[in-house]
């Protein structure tokens, strides 16, 4: 399954927005996931990602589906800096 983050908005900035996105994704997107199916996170067309939004969405995603989540490469520096800081 590919999760396109642009579907949650192009400015992924605040914690409440990240938390809301995670709850919606769990209810409507991840509920369709097959057992052991891998998840690819696509950052294409996201303009701004912050660690706050990422921490509310990507941190629980990684914790809920260990070893099944991969991040597709991005040239957006806010994406790469945010991933770098939440992975520390």
């Amino acid at each position: 399954m590919k999760i396109e983050l642009k579907k949650f908005g192009q400015l992924l900035i605040s914690r409440p927005a990240g938390k809301e996105a995670w709850l919606v994704a769990k209810a409507y997107t991840l509920s369709e996931l097959d057992d052991l199916e891998k998840i690819e996170v696509d950052f294409n067309d996201v303009l701004v990602l912050t660690p706050s939004w990422a921490d509310e969405f990507l941190t629980p995603l990684l914790a809920t589906y260990p070893k099944r989540v991969s991040f597709l490469p991005s040239t957006n520096q806010t994406v790469n800096n945010s991933l770098d800081i939440i992975n520390r």
Binding site: L11, P16, T50, P51, S52, N81, R88
Partner: protein, 194 residues
């Protein structure tokens, strides 16, 4: 054009005054964001204008991320605990490449002290906030926002003066210094030069 330049310059100075004394005469509707929704909407407009101003989209995105982290921090840590006026003041002066954000919240020392009671000065609180993953919102695991701000600013020649209490954190390229200042800001005040 000249009138706009003067207005923007006055706004920056008024927001600094508001951060220090909270006087309502300094918080104009054009930059005062009483709620997070209003701040988000203005941040979105800010990015559009910034992309027109700068040739490098990635720089515009990084600056928006910095402003978003600092502004949202004000709401994350002060909801229900504002000193007097809720929300943030946020404006920018495109001609002088300046951005300003301020809140009348409880300040960084109060929030850090909640999870590390031994922290007893504003300087130590800023040091922790900008260098350690530790958040005042215990037991939640968070506290990366200002580390991100420091990292991005230092890697991209963005200068930040961040005030809280009687302390000032100055970030620019390889410089990261925290010192006492005569400017007393009960909440927070951030001045960004890019």
């Amino acid at each position: 054009m000249i009138e706009r330049q003067i207005n923007k310059k006055n706004n920056i100075s008024d927001i600094e005054q508001w951060a220090i004394n909270g006087d309502k005469k300094y918080s104009k509707d054009e930059y005062y964001c009483p709620t997070r929704d209003i701040f988000q909407a203005r941040l979105s407009g800010f990015l559009e204008e910034l992309r027109k101003k700068l040739t490098d989209d990635n720089r515009a995105f990084l600056l928006t991320a910095i402003v978003g982290e600092i502004g949202n921090n004000s709401f994350d840590h002060n909801l229900g605990k504002w000193l007097d006026v809720p929300g943030v003041c946020f404006d920018w002066d495109p001609d002088n490449y300046l951005i300003i954000l301020a809140d009348r919240g409880q300040g960084v020392l109060t929030t850090i002290k909640k999870v590390r009671p031994t922290t007893n000065t504003n300087q130590k609180a800023l040091q922790t906030a900008f260098t350690e993953t530790l958040s005042g919102r215990s037991p939640e695991r968070r506290g990366n926002g200002l580390k991100f701000v420091r990292q991005v600013a230092q890697a991209n020649s963005i200068e930040i003066s961040f005030h809280s209490g009687d302390a000032l954190c100055f970030i620019n390229n390889n410089e990261f210094t925290i010192k006492l200042t005569t400017k007393k800001v009960p909440g927070t005040l951030a001045i960004i030069k890019f």
